[in-house]
């Protein structure tokens, strides 16, 4: 399939080594495995987050999101790892009376989200949303910026606004909290799978995916403003462009023989108008990123049955997806992907505990 052709050979884009960052001379930059801290099998990268400007990188590592996960941080300008707050235990609980905390904080951590402008990282634990602040000067460091306590039985998903004033918390219900106080300032009357919730950068619009449809809630009125109907397959991922105008919806179609096909549609969500329906490609969209103005799309794909993963990219004016040649030493695809808002810097985390960083040079033909 043409979509599998590596970008380098097609010559429309290429990868460069970020050797200056990490002092390695290999084709890709690699964050070394944390063998001194973790047993080798516990270091798979489960989740990654990168700010819009590509300033900071955060990674969730561990055997699984449930079993002893830990968050790690890097300053992408210097390539240096930052010390976590509270010397070594950034994860779930600081509460000493909490039995979970004593046992090493075994609690599920959910996807990391961060913004560069506000310098904030948020992630969900089993009962709270943790907010951490990054500071570049005088010395780069991470500090705790507060918790938002949440009562929930289900897993918790979260997102922080670009200006750092609001946090979305999606658990049993979808709520918006302000920062730094953590007060709930709005509730969306929908209860859906947390992964299918995405707030626009200004947090005025909340997109909630459900089966093949996406409902756009207006935060002030809490009402459905528009419904974007009939995506091809089940909606898997939602992503707003940095300017907030474009909503990318990734969906997976399974035909009745259970073959998977990833579809991406770009919407002018304010007008409820479809801008583009990107060509259908094999596999499931497990991560979706759209550039600042909604022209370029990067997708992390997973195949449900053989669990092969990959990274594919497209400019919506092109006809085909191109694959990023992105594998670990054992030839396995990445577990997770993060990108900056212009999709020029992409981080991929692998099961062997390495993180590869790619600089993407998109063609400038238009």
């Amino acid at each position: 399939m043409n979509a599998e052709t590596p970008m380098r050979t097609r010559g429309v884009a290429f990868l460069i080594a970020l050797s200056s960052l990490f002092g390695s001379g290999t084709a890709f930059a690699q964050v070394p495995r944390e063998t001194t801290i973790f047993p080798a099998e516990d270091t798979a990268i489960i989740s990654l987050a990168m700010g819009g400007e590509g300033r900071w990188l955060a990674a969730l590592t561990g055997q699984s999101a449930i079993h002893a996960p830990t968050v790690r941080y890097w300053d992408l300008k210097t390539g240096k790892r930052l010390d976590p707050p509270n010397s070594g235990r950034p994860a779930a609980n600081e509460d000493d009376a909490d039995p979970d905390a004593r046992s090493g904080g075994d609690g599920p951590l959910t996807t990391l989200r961060m913004t560069d402008r506000s310098g904030l990282l948020v992630f969900g634990t089993d009962r709270a949303v943790k907010v951490q602040r990054f500071r570049a000067a005088p010395t780069p460091e991470v500090s705790n910026a507060g918790d938002i306590r949440v009562r929930t039985n289900s897993s918790l998903e979260t997102q922080v606004s670009e200006d750092g004033s609001r946090v979305l918390v999606a658990a049993d219900k979808i709520a918006i909290h302000d920062l730094p106080d953590g007060n709930a300032i709005g509730m969306i009357p929908a209860s859906r799978r947390p992964a299918l919730v995405c707030a626009s950068p200004d947090f005025e619009t909340i997109a909630v995916g459900s089966h093949q449809d996406v409902d756009l809630y207006d935060l002030p009125t809490r009402k459905v403003r528009t419904s974007l109907l009939d995506h091809r397959g089940a909606v898997e991922r939602l992503a707003f462009s940095a300017d907030g105008k474009i909503l990318a919806v990734g969906s997976t179609r399974l035909d009745s023989a259970y073959r998977e096909f990833a579809n991406v549609k770009l919407w002018d969500h304010a007008a409820g108008k479809e801008i583009a329906s990107l060509p259908e490609t094999a596999r499931t969209a497990s991560g979706l990123f759209v550039d600042a103005v909604g022209n370029r799309v990067l997708m992390h794909t997973t195949a449900c049955f053989d669990r092969q993963t990959g990274v594919q990219m497209i400019d919506r004016r092109d006809e085909k997806w191109v694959a990023l040649d992105c594998k670990d030493a054992q030839g396995r695809g990445p577990n997770c992907v993060a990108a900056n808002s212009s999709l020029t810097l992409v981080a991929a985390g692998f099961a062997d505990g390495t993180i590869h960083l790619y600089e993407i040079r998109w063609p400038t033909k238009r």
Partner: protein
């Protein structure tokens, strides 16, 4: 039709009389054969069933157990955690169950051809000891009778559910939750080896010489042990990064122990045990490897991505090349075994056992039936035809002939949403998987007449849950994608979309609106505008978890415009049911009925029609309820393979049930209902009274049934209550026949007396009174001679006691009579003494079933009024708690209430 039914009853009644009458010289079997209706294959139908669509031959309800064939090729046995079934290999007829009081965990025929070896769980667990004793039984292969048995003690803390006999019953590989795998010698019952820290419930394999053992697990990977040298000779570690698919599974050693075949993360692979070298990669997933007798070939079942069936592969054991791939089975295969002659392969499928000819690669026992559990049934408007849905293709049946008319092939997934248009010409089928998933699910439109596929379109993004035709021919569908859609079935065009809903709906009989679940109940929504026509709030509760909105399990319309029903989940797997009567004209909810003893599971994808067209019967969770009173009428037992789905015929006279053993049974609704009411009859309590009322109100139709029942009823079946019903129904001739049958037990008299007191109709009251008098006269005849002799004949008190509570009535009557002048005082005192003895003995025995009888006895004691009687009464009132008299009195008081 009614004539026909009456004559049917007459025939059944006659046969019942013949078979139950002890003097009838008919051999028992012949009588049974005549008595029971049979299906097309000659297999008997359950009572009240009028047709079976499909067959019970080769069928097993939800089985996926091991199968094996006896060396003489005459019998096949299949063991699963549900039941152990034996078939006649020639015909597939089910043979009587193996007579055992325990659960059979494993079974296999021995090579001598005479013995069936079973492992049974006597359920003698001791919580302190960390072992479970198990029985190894040698049974006669033909009769199942135990010839010898011995005990083994397994280390499992619970039943070693995953135990298997290996190498023709020579070894027993036992494993359960203990994390231990034990190898026993079956003959000596000695534990040969034990391997600790072994995953729970994984299947192991042993070489023919018993020297090598292979086991596999999600976390330990694949291991082969040399049992003699007690060392591990092969280890393939699991991939820790992938707990789902990273492990190894179901290893199989070749009989010589040289090769091991197992499902690896990459697919089915073969290794040489001594070197650990990969010999063959089948490049696909597969399992259930089994060697042919002689070990020259082996077979396995390849997996496909979906639940779709894939044919068995036959391989050469030396070259590991696939020699033959069998044709596709009807459903997915769960387990296979070679016949002892190696010419056939037996495959255990979800609901059947298939037999395959090894040389031809073809199934030899394909039946005119579904191959898997029937998940949906729908009646055609003519009431004579049924379409049923299962994992395989939907089938059109003729009920009268019990025959298959047509299959509707083409769906890739099970089509379990079915609808037939009101004109009976069009069939709509919708596919889906029971466990959901976001696949594209198509809806197909067929000609029912000739089976032609008219149109196919993608209906929902997930399973199609329900389909219904509106009167105007539009098709309404509900899917797991939380949508309800209205379609033009001719063009496949979507006319209307309602979302989000729970993806289930019930079309109102006017076809213009549909009931859909709302946040706290139900809403009736217009299917053109989506507007809420009416809201039924408070019928359901929002659920804790965020994925599903309420605890609503099922709902639907009864006879429009006045009934809807709601079934709610009460706890994890239990439901309660409520019937709401609603007047569509006034918009008022008039009455709610709760279903009694309603507990059972209703699946989320329950596609049943629950309420009969006349609204009298509600069918759910494998049972039938009377919708007026909420009483339980019938329970479809496990002997029918468990009921999965219901549909009533348009005239309400027939009920079709889909069964796990892949058949549809069609029942006579009226007889089911009457039998249900009959079983609820009781002389006391509201339920019994209600049953009697409902029976009485059933009119003429119930009379032959009741008369038949009364005639043949055992004493425990409370014919007096039926009599009351008969008396109310006003059928004189039947009444007297019934009364002639009545036993003169105090229970029946009390019941009648109570009924008399409660009866509002003077006429009926008079009739009951007559019956009571007749019965009392009968009692008097029996008791009076003895009563008079209580003082002189020591036998008299004994006889009175034998007469039981009936004596109480007579005594009371006697006491009530004015003392005749002639009778001297002494005689009267003696009589009282004798009476007291009888009453006290009765009370002390403490087995008075009827609390009214106890009260009656107390009344008698009061009348006797001697010091001794007063003592007894005193004991009854305040007596020590341990006194049986006091206990009886307390229990009686509690039961009666006041």
């Amino acid at each position: 039709m009614s004539n026909q039914r009456t004559s049917l009853f007459a025939v059944v009644g006659l046969l019942l009389a013949l078979s139950s009458g002890g003097a009838a010289p008919l051999p028992k079997e012949a009588a049974n054969e005549k008595r029971q209706a049979v299906d097309r294959f000659g297999d008997p139908l359950p009572e009240f069933a009028i047709a079976r669509l499909g067959t019970t031959r080769w069928r097993q309800p939800l089985h996926d157990g091991q199968v094996s064939m006896s060396p003489d090729g005459k019998r096949i046995v299949s063991v699963s955690d549900r039941a152990t079934i034996v078939w006649e290999a020639e015909t597939g007829k089910r043979l009587p169950m193996i007579p055992t009081e325990f659960r059979i965990v494993a079974a296999t025929f021995l090579a001598d051809g005479k013995t069936l070896l079973t492992l049974e769980d006597p359920d003698e667990r001791d919580s302190d000891r960390k072992s479970t004793p198990m029985l190894v039984r040698h049974r006669d292969a033909a009769t199942g009778i135990v010839r010898k048995e011995g005990r083994i003690s397994t280390a499992s803390t619970n039943s070693p559910f995953n135990s298997r006999f290996a190498v023709d019953g020579k070894f027993l590989l036992a494993s359960g939750f203990s994390g231990q795998l034990e190898v026993f010698d079956t003959a000596s019952r000695e534990r040969l080896h034990s391997i600790d820290n072994f995953g729970t419930g994984t299947i192991a394999s042993i070489s023919d010489d018993g020297k090598r053992l292979a086991l596999a697990d999600e976390s330990l990977g694949l291991q082969v042990h040399d049992l003699a040298q007690k060392k591990r000779i092969l280890h393939m570690p699991a991939d820790p990064g992938d707990p789902v698919l990273g492990g190894y599974w179901a290893p199989k050693l070749s009989p010589d122990g040289k090769w091991v075949i197992a499902l690896a993360p990459q697919g089915l692979r073969v290794w040489e045990v001594d070197t650990g070298k990969l010999r063959r990669d089948f490049g696909n997933r597969g399992s259930w490897v089994t060697y042919a007798p002689g070990g020259k070939q082996f077979a396995f079942v390849p997996f496909e991505r979906v639940a779709n069936a894939v044919g068995i592969c036959l391989c050469d054991a030396e070259t590991f090349k696939i020699v033959r791939q069998f044709e596709k089975p009807e459903t997915s295969i769960r387990n296979i075994a070679f016949s002892p002659d190696g010419k056939r392969i037996l495959a255990s499928e979800e609901s059947s056992v298939s037999v395959w000819d090894v040389a031809a690669g073809k199934q030899t026992n394909r039946m005119v039936s579904h191959g898997a559990a029937v998940g949906a049934v729908v009646f055609a408007p003519d009431g004579r035809h049924i379409v049923s849905g299962s994992q395989d293709q939907p089938i059109l049946w003729d009920i009268e002939r019990q025959s298959l008319i047509r299959r509707f092939p083409g769906h890739n997934l099970p089509a379990l949403a079915l609808a037939i248009s009101p004109d009976g010409k069009t069939l709509a089928t919708g596919e889906g998987l029971p466990f959901g998933g976001s696949h594209e699910a198509s809806i197909r439109i067929w000609n029912l007449d000739d089976g032609r596929l008219r149109r196919e379109f993608v209906g929902h993004l997930s399973s199609v849950n329900a389909l219904e035709f509106a009167r105007d021919g539009k098709l309404v569908s509900g899917g797991s994608d939380e949508r309800v859609c209205v379609w033009d079935p001719e063009t496949g065009k979507r006319l209307f979309l309602l979302r989000p809903t729970a993806g289930h709906f019930a079309l109102a009989p006017d076809g213009k609106s549909a009931l859909v679940p709302a946040s706290d109940g139900l809403e009736l929504r217009d299917l053109l505008s989506g507007a809420i026509v009416r809201s039924f709030a408070g019928l359901a509760k929002p659920r804790e978890d965020s994925r599903s909105s309420t605890n609503l399990a099922s709902f639907g319309f009864g006879a429009f415009p006045y009934a809807i029903y709601v079934m709610r989940e009460r706890s994890n797997s239990e439901c309660d049911g409520t019937l709401v009567r609603w007047n569509a004209a006034t918009g008022e909810t008039t009455r709610k009925t709760s279903l009694k003893n309603f507990s059972g599971h209703i699946g989320n994808l329950d596609r049943s029609q629950h309420l009969s067209p006349d609204g009298k019967i509600l069918a759910a969770a494998g049972r039938l309820w009377d919708s007026e009173t909420g009483m339980l009428l019938h329970s479809f037992g496990y002997q029918d393979g468990g009921t999965t789905t219901f549909a009533f015929s348009p005239d309400g006279k027939r009920l079709a049930t889909g069964h796990n053993e892949s058949t549809v049974l069609v029942w006579d609704v009226q007889r089911l209902r009457l039998a249900g009411l009959w079983s609820n009859l009781s002389p006391i309590g509201d339920a019994g009274k209600a049953a009697s009322d409902v029976l009485a109100a059933s009119g003429d139709e119930c009379v032959p049934f009741l008369a038949d029942r009364v005639r043949h009823a055992a004493r425990r079946e409370l014919p007096h209550a039926a009599t009351i019903a008969l008396l109310r129904s006003g059928k004189q001739a039947e009444q007297f026949r019934a009364i002639g049958k009545l036993e003169t037990t105090p229970a029946s008299v009390f019941a009648l007396q109570l009924a008399e007191a409660a009866e509002s109709d003077d006429d009926v009251r008079g009739r009951i009174r007559e019956v009571v008098d007749t019965l009392l006269a009968k009692s008097m005849q029996k008791a009076a001679p003895w009563l008079r002799k209580v003082d002189s004949n020591p036998e008299a008190a004994e006889r009175l006691r034998e007469l039981g509570p009936a004596a109480l009535l007579v005594i009371r009557r006697e006491l009530d009579r004015p003392v005749p002048k002639k009778r001297d005082g002494l005689d009267h005192v003696r009589f009282r003494k004798g009476a007291l003895e009888a009453v006290e003995a009765e009370l002390r025995a403490g087995d008075l079933e009827n609390p009214h009888a106890v009260l009656q006895a107390i009344t008698v004691l009061t009348r006797i009024d001697t010091p001794a009687a007063r003592d007894v009464l005193q004991e009854l009132r305040n007596g020590p708690a341990e006194s049986p008299l006091a206990r009886t009195a307390i229990a009686a008081k509690k039961q009666v209430g006041k």
